[in-house]
């Protein structure tokens, strides 16, 4: 399974490491041969010359063996780490093509575990396995060669030993697989709980819910402990069975030997059998030892296999949405919905019902309605975060599904409801995305100016180079929102979607921002989702949504006259606003 992720270069390295391991095994076996030379020399009473010469030979062999094993070690380390590097990148590239639906399918926490923890498991397994996979067959083959031709009874006994060994291992692996799967899933949970615990720390503290949060976490942690202990209880035979098998096999060989010897009357044959028995027992142990090495690897196998499966699930996952291939659209800066209906996966009712509207280049489209009326859903369909259930969503006169993903997103700048701020400088956050190489600091300042963010950025000690911490925790809610708007402005795409992006701004800033947008972004089509009538009343087209349906469409004046819901919203806000 893992093999298919190895590249050509790794195969070459693998072949090379096989050669080094061969050399090492050969050299290690060579050293004792020099000793028999010495023994012979001592018995014959020869001079110390032979001893020194043999000694030098032994040292040379030992050195060469070291070089060979170090080289093999380096090569296997390199293969395993290259493999894990490739897997991590493959996962990233794959997830980059995921829609939110796909990400939710795996959950963010799990994708993080899979990208680091799971791939580490695979790396460790491969690093160990590569050496053993080569070494143990060499050892086993060499030993089997030495004992072939002896009595079949002994060979049968050895075979039984090997079969029992593998039988036990197979059972253990089977039984433990389920637990390893659970362990990795619980690791996902630990990741998720940690993330929640830190992101929600203010709420947790404000409600004195520390103990509640800790207990949730403890439950996960204890569960992880229990699974790990279950694995231990299942796996323990693996730790001892191989050494026990060695001992019992020796006993069996002697026992069989005794029986064989007493069964034959021929004295010469008895002598042969006796010496065979001694030799056989030592080589049979060699065979088992080779399998013991394999068993050590097999012990690591279930966990690595579970992890590989988890990684493969991501890599082989077919994204729900098919990207289109077209680059060019029709008239730039237009958005049109034709009888669009949409239902969230797994939801009971439609989020949008038969929605139609159209907006032209340079116009401002506003979408207003009570919470849950489907405003953000409209934006998500324009960006093709989801596909419409029925009807057509057209951007620049072409169905969004026909565009190559980046061709679509490069037409639209999206400022989401929740301001997203990345770790980095103000400049990094404003001049973000595929256009960042085309914009200079002047553009960034202009965007900040439009977003009414220039004032507070200017007083920051390092200006555009000022550092913003993760999730913009060192900014206020309104500042985060304006940085996020500046990002949308800086990109200067045909269409700018502002999804309730003014909610944390005061009326004065809101107003200034709108007039700056109007002045600076004349040719940009602006789609503005808002709660406040004041924010949208100047829009060219206003769409009033209620429970996913269009209940009014037109200008402020027309809607005040014709649309009851719009009037209700307006009156409730006007009375507050005019005091």
């Amino acid at each position: 399974m893992i093999v298919k992720y190895l590249g050509k270069k790794e195969w070459a390295l693998f072949v090379l490491s096989v050669l080094f391991i061969f050399a090492q095994v050969y050299l290690d076996l060579k050293i004792p041969e020099y000793m028999s030379d010495i023994t012979l020399a001592l018995e014959n009473g020869e001079s110390s010359n032979v001893i020194v010469r043999s000694g030098v030979g032994m040292v040379v062999c030992a050195l060469l063996s070291l070089v060979a094993s170090l080289s093999a070690g380096y090569l296997t380390a390199r293969i395993s780490t290259t493999l894990s590097r490739r897997l991590r990148l493959m996962m990233l590239d794959q997830v980059n093509g995921f829609s939110p639906e796909d990400v939710d399918h795996f959950t963010v926490a799990s994708l993080i575990t899979r990208s680091t923890n799971d791939i580490t498991q695979i790396q460790q397994f491969v690093g160990r396995a590569l050496q053993v996979i080569v070494k143990s067959p060499i050892m086993a083959a060499w030993a089997i060669l030495k004992i072939s031709g002896s009595s079949w009874e002994w060979t049968a006994a050895t075979a039984v030993g090997v079969i029992i060994l593998f039988g036990v291992m197979l059972v253990v692996i089977r039984l433990s697989m389920r637990h390893f799967r659970k362990i990795q899933e619980l690791t996902d949970s630990v990741n998720r709980e940690t993330r929640n615990g830190i992101n929600g720390v203010r709420v947790v503290r404000a409600y004195n819910a520390e103990e509640f949060q800790a207990q949730r976490f403890d439950w996960t942690s204890e569960e992880l402990l229990r699974s790990n202990l279950s694995v231990l209880r299942i796996m323990f035979p693996m730790y001892t069975i191989s050494s026990a098998m060695t001992n019992f096999l020796t006993l069996a060989i002697y026992w069989i030997g005794a029986a064989l010897i007493s069964a034959t009357g021929d004295v010469d044959e008895q002598m042969v059998l006796f010496s065979d028995m001694i030799v056989f027992s030592s080589y049979a142990i060699q065979v088992l030892r080779a399998f013991m090495l394999v068993s050590e690897i097999l012990r690591m196998y279930p966990r690595a296999s579970v992890s590989l499966n988890r990684v493969k699930e991501v890599i082989d996952h077919q994204p729900r949405m098919r990207e289109g291939s077209e680059e060019e659209g029709g008239p730039a800066g237009t958005v049109e919905f034709r009888n669009v209906s949409f239902r969230y996966p797994g939801a009971g009712g439609d989020a949008l019902k038969d929605v139609s509207f159209k907006v032209g280049k340079g116009q401002t489209l506003a979408i207003i309605g009570p919470t849950g009326s489907g405003k953000t859903t409209l934006a998500k369909l324009m960006l093709r975060i989801y596909d419409a259930g029925s009807g057509e969503v057209l951007v620049d006169g072409k169905e969004v599904g026909r565009y190559r993903r980046e061709a679509l997103t490069s037409r639209i700048s999206y400022v989401p409801q929740r301001s997203i701020i990345f770790t980095g400088t103000v400049r990094d956050n404003v001049n973000y995305g595929d256009t960042s190489d085309l914009r200079d600091d002047g553009d960034v300042w202009r965007a900040l100016e439009v977003a009414q963010a220039a004032d507070f950025v200017r007083v920051m000690p390092d200006g555009l180079d000022s550092q913003i911490s993760q999730q913009g925790k060192n900014l206020s809610g309104g500042q985060r929102q304006r940085i996020s708007i500046a990002r949308g402005v800086c990109r200067r795409s045909e269409i700018l979607i502002l999804d309730d992006s003014f909610s944390a701004l005061d009326f004065k800033t809101d107003k200034r921002l709108r007039s700056a947008l109007k002045k600076e972004l004349k040719d940009t089509t602006v789609v503005m989702i808002a709660q406040r009538i004041g924010t949208i009343m100047d829009a060219d087209v206003i769409v009033v949504l209620d429970e996913g349906k269009v209940v009014g469409i037109g200008t402020h004046k027309e809607l005040m006259r014709d649309c009851a819901l719009y009037r209700d919203i307006a009156i409730s806000q006007m009375t507050e606003g005019t005091i």
């Binding site: 380390a77 595929d434 390092d462």
Partner: protein, 475 residues
């Protein structure tokens, strides 16, 4: 305004392997008795195997008596086989128990660490917590505890067993022939010294590897946190570029760490080969001298092997202790982060609060030198409704944060019914106020859990709350 790095984010030294190992050992706490018991059992098992050769000898003698037309004492042989089988079974059982006991201590250790890490989050001041990288903290919670959990007890047990065996076999060698013993031990010690030099170098790469894993986690976490924007702005290319860089860093630190740690057993293998050569050559010279007999060489060949095996085990366990220590330092770093002051000595003011809130010349800055609240004073009488208005960034949320004591004021004081907030335990401050935060945060679980945080409320009370905020419709 470059955000000051938290102290532990810069932390990158401490190659004090022994100190960290001892700290892990202390951390294991009561579970360390499992390690002791496991070591004791495996030593008993080892001693039991020492008896076996005696019976093997008897059995072999009995069989050889039967060779050459003699009488084959099958009953006697069967007796030996039975005794040996029993002995081996006992050994297998003892080793199995020890193979459960020692790793189980590790598992419990990992569980304790995870739970302590999580509880630590609620004791760290917010100002400090805000600067942490969430992905990196997650990596400490999972990847680092995992690497400690998987092998800490085994490595410590192996180290202790190996040290005992080294001392034992050294004593046997010195007892048999002290001159040859010294000659045989010198290369081993030299080799061990070399290994220790490599160990010191390899530590660095394990530290880097753990840190790079944390970086990858951070990058992925942040990308998924902002996936809407990353996707809409075609920021994936940039993310990929950064990822490739961090991924390459991780590759190079992982490669070095792996290679250096795989070198240790190989060098020890080399040393055991050299020891063998030295014994053969020096021993043979001594045989020529007539100062020792050939049997001493045979004995020494076994001893050198018995001395080399634990040395290899020792170097193996020290090598895995490197990676454990690198992770343990990251875990301990988080556990050692400064905490909010202990408030258990402050008086209990749980009796009914009237609700007079007073701000007296409050000054506050999130970062030193950047004051955001400049001498704010306000008195609110019980039952009054007060609205705080102002342009964005003017400090509205900060006032609420100070009232909740999420942060401490730089100067000035906030009092409730005349008592300074500083003199009230934090949970009781939180008890006095109910706060709805600007950022909505929900955790995955039932709606009930999200509303109640595990406390008991009647269904009626929950329904009333839902009704009041108008979410009955979708609940």
């Amino acid at each position: 305004m470059s955000a000051p790095q938290p102290r532990w984010a810069k932390y990158d030294k401490s190659d004090d392997l022994l100190g960290t190992t001892l700290r892990i050992f202390r951390y294991i706490g009561k579970y360390r008795y499992r390690i002791y018991a496991g070591i004791a059992l495996s030593m008993i098992a080892s001693m039991a195997t020492l008896i076996a050769p005696q019976y093997h000898k008897t059995m072999t003698d009995l069989i050889s008596d039967g060779v050459g037309g003699g009488y084959m004492d099958m009953k006697g042989i069967l007796g030996c086989v039975a005794v040996l089988a029993a002995l081996y079974s006992v050994v297998a059982v003892l080793r199995s128990i020890s193979a459960i006991l020692i790793p189980s201590a590790s598992e419990h250790n990992g569980n304790m660490m995870r739970k302590d890490l999580n509880r630590k989050i609620s004791r760290i001041p917010l100002g400090f917590l805000d600067r942490l990288k969430i992905g990196d903290v997650m990596s400490r919670f999972t990847n680092d505890t995992d690497s400690i959990r998987r092998q800490s007890a085994d490595s410590i047990a192996n180290m202790l067993v190996a040290l005992t065996m080294i001392v034992g076999s050294l004593a046997m060698m010195l007892y048999t022939e002290w001159r040859l013993a010294i000659v045989a031990v010198i290369p081993a010690l030299c080799g061990f010294f070399v290994v220790m030099l490599i160990v010191r170098r390899s530590k660095k790469y394990f530290v880097r590897q753990a840190r790079d894993l944390g970086k990858i986690n951070t990058l992925i976490e942040e990308t998924y946190y902002g996936i809407d924007v990353v996707d809409a702005y075609n920021g994936k290319g940039k993310v990929r570029g950064e990822f490739v860089k961090v991924n390459d860093d991780l590759y190079s630190s992982a490669l070095k760490a792996r290679f250096l740690s795989s070198m240790m057993p190989q060098i020890m293998g080399f040393i055991s080969n050299i020891g063998y050569v030295v014994v053969c050559v020096a021993g043979s010279m001594m045989v020529l001298d007539g100062s020792i007999g050939y049997g001493v060489i045979v004995a020494f060949i076994i001893y050198v092997k018995e001395f080399g095996d634990p040395l290899e085990r020792l170097s193996n366990s020290i090598s895995s202790l490197q990676s454990i220590a690198a992770s343990a330092e990251r875990v301990f770093e988080f556990l050692d982060a400064p905490e909010m002051e202990d408030e258990s000595r402050k008086p209990d003011v749980s009796e009914a609060v009237r609700g007079k809130v007073e701000f007296r010349d409050v000054r506050f800055s999130y970062e030193p030198g950047k004051e955001v609240i400049h001498g704010f004073s306000l008195t609110v009488e019980p039952g009054q409704k007060v609205a705080i208005v102002g342009p964005t960034g003017s400090g509205k949320t900060t006032i609420a944060n100070l009232l909740m004591r999420f942060y401490e004021t730089d100067s000035g004081d906030i009092t409730v019914d005349g008592i300074s907030l500083r003199d009230i335990r934090r949970p009781q401050v939180h008890e006095m106020f109910c706060m709805v935060l600007q950022d909505t945060w929900l955790f995955n679980g039932s709606i009930r859990d999200n509303l109640t945080f595990g406390r008991d409320y009647s269904d009626d009370a929950l329904d009333a709350a839902c009704e009041a905020v108008g979410i009955c419709g979708f609940v």
